[in-house]
């Protein structure tokens, strides 16, 4: 079997996780990493045996591009890579924009005969699929999704955002449960010596990522102890005949990466059937995400 050749675009926590996840599969291979030119760092050791380029055309025979970049850059990058003939996977996380982005990217995907799977991370992504299955099990009922519990968990998207604000030296944004599917946020910041806290505070509070939830911002000497990458979430559905609960807890960017890597497999399965287009995670059959060459292998442990 020819292996599925995958390129990682972006070398943050998710990009690193994708490299590790690809190594856990037997049917995918890493073609290389696309990243901005950068100075020497610790990363060079991690990338010793990997081709690193600043332009994807320098990598040969790439099937699928994993977009491990900030969520807001995703829609433009999908189009850019689709037009170059690549299938793409991303973990775009703005729930309310998913349908719009999906429909737009579907047009280019069909025109270029590629497959894109969007919003395919933890939530949206596998959590959305769990919510879907819960609805099948309980036709009538209500679902709540809760992140971070009472201690809070580190949100990737919110943390990435606060770090981009001028005057912020380092930051961590935690998400905490606030009851019945609602959340609050806690942000820890290390500031530059000349930072204007008032401006930073306003910039965070007025950002769409933060404006809808209760928010506490605290300046600290070091954010290190909050920087654990751990997160947790629960989905509960209370139905007429049944209660259901799904709990997940672990290293957030790592399991997002696992999901993205499995999506590369589903992209190629769709391509093989000529089903070009852009899809959300639940629009492709779950079996296409699973490893195995035969029906028996794919249904192992069914």
């Amino acid at each position: 079997m020819q292996k599925i050749s995958v390129a990682i675009v972006g070398w943050g926590n998710v990009g690193r996780g994708c490299k590790r996840a690809i190594e856990e599969t037997s049917d995918l291979v890493l073609a290389g990493v696309v990243r901005r030119p950068t100075t020497v760092s610790l990363e060079e050791v991690e990338l010793q045996n990997t081709k690193v380029v600043s332009d994807i055309t320098k990598l040969k025979d790439v099937d699928v591009v994993l977009l491990c970049i900030p969520s807001r850059e995703v829609p433009d990058k999908i189009a850019q890579y689709q037009k170059m003939g690549y299938s793409t996977v991303d973990s775009f996380d703005e729930h309310e924009r998913i349908v719009t982005v999906r429909k737009e990217a579907d047009i280019t995907a069909k025109a270029k005969k590629v497959v894109s799977i969007i919003a395919a991370g933890w939530d949206p992504g596998t959590d959305s699929a769990i919510r879907g299955i819960m609805k099948v099990v309980s036709i009538t009922g209500y679902t709540t999704t809760t992140f971070g519990g009472t201690a809070g968990g580190r949100s990737m998207g919110h943390t990435a955002l606060v770090k981009t604000i001028p005057g912020v030296k380092n930051g961590v944004a935690l998400t905490l449960a606030n009851g019945r599917g609602k959340h609050k946020r806690k942000v820890y910041l290390e500031l530059m010596p000349d930072a204007n806290f008032g401006e930073i505070d306003r910039a965070i509070r007025n950002d769409p990522y933060f404006m809808n939830d209760p928010l506490e911002i605290e300046v600290v000497k070091s954010v290190d102890k909050y920087n654990t990458l751990q997160h947790a979430g629960s989905i509960e559905r209370t139905g007429m005949q049944v209660n259901q609960r799904y709990d997940v807890a672990g290293i957030n960017p790592e399991f997002t990466a696992n999901v993205m890597v499995s999506c590369a497999r589903a992209c190629m399965a769709a391509k093989a059937k000529g089903e070009y287009g852009c899809y959300t995670f639940i629009e492709r059959p779950l079996i296409d995400y699973l490893p195995g060459n035969t029906l028996e292998e794919k249904l192992e442990g069914y």
Copy 2:
């Protein structure tokens, strides 16, 4: 929109659950119930406004047949209804025979241009899908599935089986957790006055449904208090980067029925695309099981 017309074959707990579940949907309608001719009973009240026939050809315009019959009768009945031009849904539960039954039924389905979704209940079925998603979230790891906890839950298949054994007046079979995905069984029996317990005991112990797990059989005056229809199960996956756990607890035949009814919707979605065949639950896109006419409606709460 034309509603999906569904016939229920078999009038046990699952059949009753399917009737109730269809009433919770807005896109499905019950064409009627197919059952053996029977004498007057309480059921007549439940079926007052429903067409009851002993032969499906007496029902008009049925799209999908829900096979709410003992698991072992399912493979033959799939073929029988497919050949008459019906799509079918069942909750066949013999894990090790799924691939064989699926492949056989696929041939007839394609020949007759119908769609069958097999083994689509709780487990196999939605539990299998949860296990699949858990593998996507954690590429490396191990999964255990546990039913019944320490108190035990009433198993539909095992209970149906013990009740068919000559000399048994009534019976309930409970499934209990036995650690790391293993189970034990507890059977409560009411016997006929002339029953031979030794023979009954042997018949149960030698049945494939029971022979692989530790088993305790107890004769009681009445099984009523064990006859609650409640069951529960947990799936746990311990991975490299994440722990996951899914818990479900409720009325077993009712949520099996919910799953089967949602499968009728997915049958028609497959048929609309000309994708005739027999499928396991995870071979069809999850979105096809969900209600809604537009992508926006189907992705509600995504």
